[in-house]
Amino acid sequence: MTRVTPSAPENETASLYEAHRKVYPRAVYGRFRRLKWVVMAVCLTFFYLAPLLRWSRGPDAPGQAILIDLAGRRVYLFGLEFWPQEIYFVTGIMVLAMLLLFLATALFGRVWCGYACPQTVWTDLFVMVERWVEGDRMQRIRLDRAPWTLQKLGKKLVKHGIWLVIAAGSGCAFVGWYVDAPSLTWKLLHFEAPLTDLGFIALLTTTTYLLGGIAREQVCIYMCPWPRIQSALLDEQSRVVSYQAWRGEPRGKLADPASGDCIDCLACVQVCPTGIDIRDGHQLACIDCSLCVDACDAMMHKVGFAPGLIRWESFTGQTQRAAGLPAEWRPVRPRTVLYALVIVAVAGVMLSAMVMRQPLKATVQHDRIPLYVPISGDRLKNGYVLKLSNLTRRPQQVMVHADTPLDIALAVAGDQERPSGNHLVLTAEPDGQTTYHVMAILPKDALSAASTPLTLVLSTAAIPEIRITDHFFAPEPH
């Protein structure tokens, strides 16, 4: 991270590689801190407990409300069940999440980073444990500087022990999203969990411990791509955590009559989870968690100044305040309207796709070799591989007929001694794909071209018709 300061003093050093400085965030109290606790509690509760929610789907299906069943190749979401063919729903959800992130950033800066990102949530949790075991900022700094004693060793062991327990719990909860959570718990308690599950629990335990406990703000500053593109998403109307330099500068002692409102107490720096000085301006490492707002407001209250020296404010708003005007904020502007419209469009497409989703899907593929077979009686036969995907858990009877005025006969391979005319009834086996080799038979003289479009119409009692157009191939007419 390179800090950009408008007028760097002569002797200031600009480092190309910054050595790791351990950050010791101080405890802070206030409305944003409370909000952060609430968001953290909600996120963690959802993550840990959602796999335990039950949903009855009958005897042959998993009873977990939210389950990403990789082995069974299904995603269960309450009443919905997705097949691998419908992976585009996942794409849609990701696109939607990205657009929501854009909109939130354009309006409120990096609220995602400050409040809901798993990195932030777990780091916050781990720092909470650290503070609980080792004490607040100054005690932790002293402890780290102190020589190794049994007491120090004990504290460190307790802290890392609790971290590992939390990390292991997160690993188990993560795997619980992919396998049946209650039976996983039972197996874990009886030391019977499969090796794959244990491997993923170990992996997630390690990453949670390393990212939440050790790497912390380094992930946000050095590893995450999001800070790199935030400047493309913010504009002068986005509300971000900002220091009101016009009011605070020149900073100085409380007693100094010439100085501004900033009393240079460094409270904002000490509470910052990424260890930056917000008074340097908005910067890459700021995750907009607004703990510095709480810290500064508390201090301003103590010394009898108005709060809001550090506040959620757009650049425009700050300029207006500096000029003595009331700060205004325009949440509705072309950028946010565009984001909102695209969000509505994508959500609308996904919702309609979801609503129109049929319990039967079908694909038809014409045989490649050969394209046609001459058979007795001056007729031609074309073969099609018809795949019926039955998304329900009971068999479906599917009626197939060809939408053509020609005298066509349909049959399933092996059955053409009993051609059924332009009519087939096939069974789609429950919860799976059933493949039929369907033959279409036409008299040679009914065909005038080497390739004639042929539409197969599939219908069941439950769904509207499915129409699939393929071709009937014949020898090149002489």
Binding site: L16, D367, P370, I375, G377, R379, H437
Partner: protein, 296 residues
Amino acid sequence: MSPKIEKDSLSGQETTGHEWDGIKELNTPLPKWWLYTFYATILFAIVYCVAYPAFPLPWGGHTMGLLDTSNRKAVDADIRSSAVSNRPQYQQLASTDLDAIDQDPALRSFAVAGGRSAFAQNCAPCHGSGGQGSKGYPNLLDDVWLWGGTLPQIYQTVQFGVRNGNAETHQGVVMPAWGETAKSPPQVLNAAQIDALADYLLSLNHQPAAPDAVTRGAALFAENCVTCHGDHAEGNIEMGAPPLAAGVWLYGGDKSTLVESITHGRGGQMPAWSERLDGATVKMLAFYVHQMGGGK
């Protein structure tokens, strides 16, 4: 020139001692973790080259590596292990009769899947990868079968083949050469008669033909051909005699090919696959061929 390493006043870093026109280079070494990772990859490469096949040799071949790994061997091992894991199904197939297999969906689909790969290996060279056949090699997808298209008939044909010397092979009747050839001096039919027969066959298949030739051909057909091909040219699977009015031809249905077939005779052959493949594979082939589209 000895490098003059000095401390840069602005950044506090040391310089490399290199200087070009007054521009000095800061010494910014790579991060340790990066360097050690790099060393680790070098070490990995050395170990890899010793352990696995790595370098081509100028006199051909390549170094083998200490672990003696080879993709070929891995594939062989895979094939062997799948042969072992498939053994129960093979044994079941070999010991179960056709009807029972047909009634067992799991076993039947195993047979079809195995038959698909056995077909590609053994049958596709003559019958085509899709079973479409070619001139002289029957199309397995149509509804005309020289030796019958039911599952037991197909199984019989695959097992013992056609006119190959196996004790149980389909011998049928070889279509004789009706015209004058070096091999058959006693000429049975003359060229005009063969021409009339061909015209008659064309008319049976709704092709244009000279009417008077058709009349003569019909008489010749009744006299010479009905024994094998039947009164209505419907064919006879006991003799391997194809139907001649179905519009489906093994050698071709145009006049010159018909004349050639009558003049020189025909008689295809097929190996007895029970002599070359195990019993389970032959059964799998029968199931696969039967479900390709032509089976009855």
